[in-house]
Symmetry: C2
Subunit: 302 residues, 2 copies
């Protein structure tokens, strides 16, 4: 239950460098635009929109830009000191600062539901896009400067994957090292009991939720990186069945009725159609520039 005097911060963080695709920038802005109006405190983390600093450094694409943006998010959290945080991404890395803040604020007395098709425990040795590193960082694994952003490491016994469908070999090793718990998509089809039972055993009252939209099935929801129109038909053939949106909504509602959700991050919104439409509009008569014959490589909205 949320008390009246508690304070929720809604944080928009249109970070795209962690997935190396500017469509994540639009995805975050659009997610925020689609969300119901709220009287919560609202802040937008300043995100670099230049092509500077986009090289790979120490195995991480746009490393120093990502660190700078995580520091900016941390500064906003420190300023407001909220009890609860909603984060709209952006790539999954947007959760580093807010989840580290919440785990520290509640002194580790939180469980994390990692609702995602992927485990997000990759490391710079194996994968250069930081959006797949963020849970590793929260557990103390990976680039030391990112790990240094986590004042209190997350207890791996208090992490539950929900809807996990995929993962690289190197990620499976980290999962094994920490003995991370997993609820597969098929286990929540009927009801939410696998999640509720696991939470009951943790004996914890506060929950942080990571919700990567790619946990959803690409046949139902197509604003996902994997649902690229140009390769969609083959992806539909080979991708495992993800979760229905209604299933995830029901799990989150069931959890929220029994526990105090203190953090919710929604990430990886990749709106293919809106991105294409925005690009098109910048080149149409009476609306845009009819001399722009080439599709721009970066298309920022605002």
């Amino acid at each position: 239950m949320v008390s009246d005097s508690s304070k929720t911060l809604r944080l928009l963080m249109p970070q795209w460098q962690g997935g190396n695709n500017p469509a994540y920038y639009l995805g975050a802005q659009l997610l925020n635009w689609l969300a119901p109006h709220s009287n919560d405190t609202f802040e937008e983390v300043p995100i670099d929109r230049t092509e500077e600093g986009l090289g790979v450094e120490r195995g991480i694409f746009a490393r120093s830009t990502l660190l700078k943006q995580a520091h900016a998010a941390k500064g906003i959290l420190k300023k407001h000191n909220p009890d609860r945080v909603v984060v709209f991404g952006g790539d999954c890395g947007v959760e580093l600062a807010p989840f580290a803040y919440l785990n520290d604020k509640y002194d580790g007395d939180v469980a994390i539901l990692w609702i995602d098709a992927h485990p997000d425990v990759n490391t710079p040795e194996h994968f250069e896009n930081h959006h797949a590193h963020v849970l590793a960082n929260l557990l103390g694994v990976g680039d030391e400067d990112f790990v240094a952003e986590v004042p209190k490491l997350v207890n791996p016994d208090k992490v539950l994957y929900v809807g996990l469908n995929d993962g690289t070999d190197s990620e499976k090793e980290v999962m094994k090292q920490f003995d991370l718990s997993v609820v597969r998509p098929e286990a929540i089809l009927k009801d939410s009991s696998p999640v509720l039972d696991w939470l009951h055993k943790t004996n914890i009252s506060k929950i942080i939720v990571h919700f990567d939209l790619d946990v959803l099935d690409l046949r139902e929801f197509r604003s996902l990186l994997i649902a690229n129109p140009s390769t969609y038909s083959s992806m539909v053939e080979k991708a495992p069945t993800g979760s229905n949106m209604e299933t995830i909504i029901r799990v989150l509602q069931d959890v929220a009725k029994a526990y105090d959700i203190v953090g919710l991050g929604i990430t990886e919104h990749f709106p293919w159609d809106s991105y294409a439409l925005a690009n098109m509009l910048t080149r149409l008569p009476l609306i845009g520039d009819i001399n722009k014959t080439e599709k721009p490589s970066f298309n920022w909205i605002f």
Copy 2:
């Protein structure tokens, strides 16, 4: 060429009743949100968002509401008396008032490019959703009260279909009656000459463009009614190949470089994913109402 002293009105008309689906309301708002900022005069036509007046009357769904909204659009046009109009829909019916206004203002000295998979010359006897009637009305065919909104009827010799892919038997009869010209999707694959050659023969300098997004191929752009996720795979099997977005952009740029485009309507944006996402957000913890277990039948943004 657009002179500096000329005035363009950007009209947002999130009408959805003509297609009987509230997702068109969101589609119009989103289209407007995605468009580049402009200093043109901007107006939003007030659109009914209740479930009142949604029955079929004289063969047309929500007939009197649609007429009321067309009158409101006409009032805005009269107030501003613009030289050029951009219309963001909404269902195709949003173009009735602005195209009638422009054809009257320029005394019929305009050609209309009807860029659409469908001919939009249906009538109440054959089809109850008005969004398929609008070109018929502009030509003087269909419900008399809608036709009465067209002070100067469009000359059928000055209408060119571009990208047409479909049509009902009753529509084909109207097309034959008026001997309407057609450029098929395959004819503009290489260059825009079939459109430019036809325009050259009309000996007209001003152009109105109707751009129904459903002219685009559903395999490339999925924010279309036809791209319903639940039936998409069978639609992909059977739907004829539509036009690429880049092809339509090139045709419009080529036309705009040689002629004076005085009207541009973009219609039938049907954002499946954004609609689902907006619905989901209204039901999530920390953002919406966790007791809303049912998907709302109408989901308005704003």
